[in-house]
Amino acid sequence: MGAPGTSPLGPESLRGYLLLAPALVVAFAMLVVPLLALIVLSFWSQDYFTLVKEFTFKNYAAIFALADKPIDFLANPFGIFEKPIYLTLLWRSIKMSLVATLIVVLLAYPMAYFLVFRVKRHKLVWLILITVPFWTSYLLRVFAWKVILGFNGVINSGLISLGLIDKPLEFLLYNPIAVTGTLAHSWAAFAILPIYVSLEKIDRSLLEAATDLGDGRLRRFLRVTLPLSMPGVIAATLLVFIPTVGDYITPTLVGGTEGVMIGNIIQSLFGKANNAPLGAAVSIIAMLAITLLVCLFLKLVGPGRSSAKGARA
């Protein structure tokens, strides 16, 4: 940076900006503008079929207000009273995503570790093996879990034909655990690959140095390998957490009423419930919550990251 004789408006950087212009226009027109539009929309209101374009805090008040009557969702009464329903759902979605993310990352780490340190030959084959299930239709992957866990599903019919149970187990599908488990499966590759990359980048001589200086395997892992792979762990956490909070395919297919997430509510507000302004407000609150959590997370793991950088330097 800061090469002599170049300025932000010099021909050298101008050409860079020109090359970047089309991509920036796309990002601006289709991301920044829609987000601004959502913010504006969230301060308007919906009066049955007409959109009232007057500034109001009504939608935000509705989000933070306590529900006074049971709210129907997908024609089922919803078991939440006296609590702000949107916030309750948002909190539940975040909890489910956090648990799913934690499970994904914990399960993925040993796999990535295995790929980097134990697989000597045919690494490409292992990588392809891991990637392939994730390039099949996301819908069908989630749906496969419905087929596995369902009332007449694979587990139940399998257990019955083996004579282990008499009647199907009903607790398998349509609950938060089914959603969390399905999410943990669907997003595994997004955790393995970043951790794999960061482990692969570790300078092996640092590991040798730790061993030479008397660290045991566990100490070496905790003091060298793990801190140095933290960038990958952080990337994996964010790559899994952010999209899963807003996911709504998984809860729709395997969640039932107990597994409803904030994405379902936002979708129904823009669809059947026909209250786009409220939907926009809920989206904004959800995005703020996610951003806040991400910032908090980065702040918390920040020191670990800088020590990893220190070790590399």
């Binding site: 090469a3 050298e12 950087s13 860079g16 090359l19 970047l20 089309p22 991509a23 920036l24 796309v26 990002a27 289709m30 991301l31 920044v32 503008v33 829609p34 987000l35 539009a37 959502l38 929309l41 399960l107 796999m111 570790y113 295995f114 134990r118 490409l124 990588l127 392809i128 891991i130 990637t131 392939v132 299930p133 390039w135 099949t136 239709s137 996301y138 819908l139 069908l140 992957r141 496969a144 087929v147 007449n152 599903g153 694979v154 139940n156 019919s157 034909s161 499966h185 952010i242 999209p243 807003g246 395919i249 994405g263 936002i266 823009f270 786009a276 926009a280 989206s283 995005m287 991400v294």
Partner: protein
Amino acid sequence: MSRLFRFDALFLYAVLYLLFLYAPVLLLPLFSFNDSIYIAFPLKGFTFEWYRQMAENGPLIQALQNSLKLAVTVSIICTALGLLAAKGLTRPYLPGKRLITGLLLLPLVVPVLILGIGLLVIARQIFEIPLSLFTVGAGHVLLCLPFATLVLTSRLEGFDRSLEEASLDLGESAWRTFWRVTVPLALPGIVASLLLCFTISFDEFVLAFFLAGNEATLPMFIFSQLRFPNKLPGVLALGSLILLFSFVAVALSEWLRRQDVQAK
């Protein structure tokens, strides 16, 4: 001794993990050949019936055509824009690079649902554009562009700028230098980017769900079929074919990426 044991434990874990990843996915081909409309054990018998039905399903073929058109167009547009952006980002001097990179990668960290409704709001309530495959395509370009940019930037980062300078010094125009030096060097990255964008667009459901009008894409068609139990075997047959094609595509792109790494 302990070393051998550790290897075995980790190896066992890796195999179990692969099993966990594959079990649900492999159910699709398994039951796509099962002679029963119910997806349950025990298996009944072997049949190609579901594949035959699938081939005769008009709406399915239409949805497949829509998705193919969409994915091809989106992957070409994104790779072209991504290549230009990667050229820009890999320049040695670029003030505000972090900010620009942040903006370009922003779609990766915004939940797709929110991207979808945001685009729906501007399309319907501001510009009053009718929803069609074009609106879906626009959404997919936004979604795929960060991936294309990332893949191509990492490809261009390692390459020797003096090759381009040599070409310019030897009297080639900037345009010919781009085609005769830059593009061939970036080719593995270009192919990987095309494949990645194609796969993302081909599989994308949420944006399509919000932004498509009457023209269904393949994931939308699949979603509409999931509600009807008697349509399921056909969907499984379709899913199995997608699995097969994905495998070929992923293997191809990984192989190309490896070529690329080895070339360095």
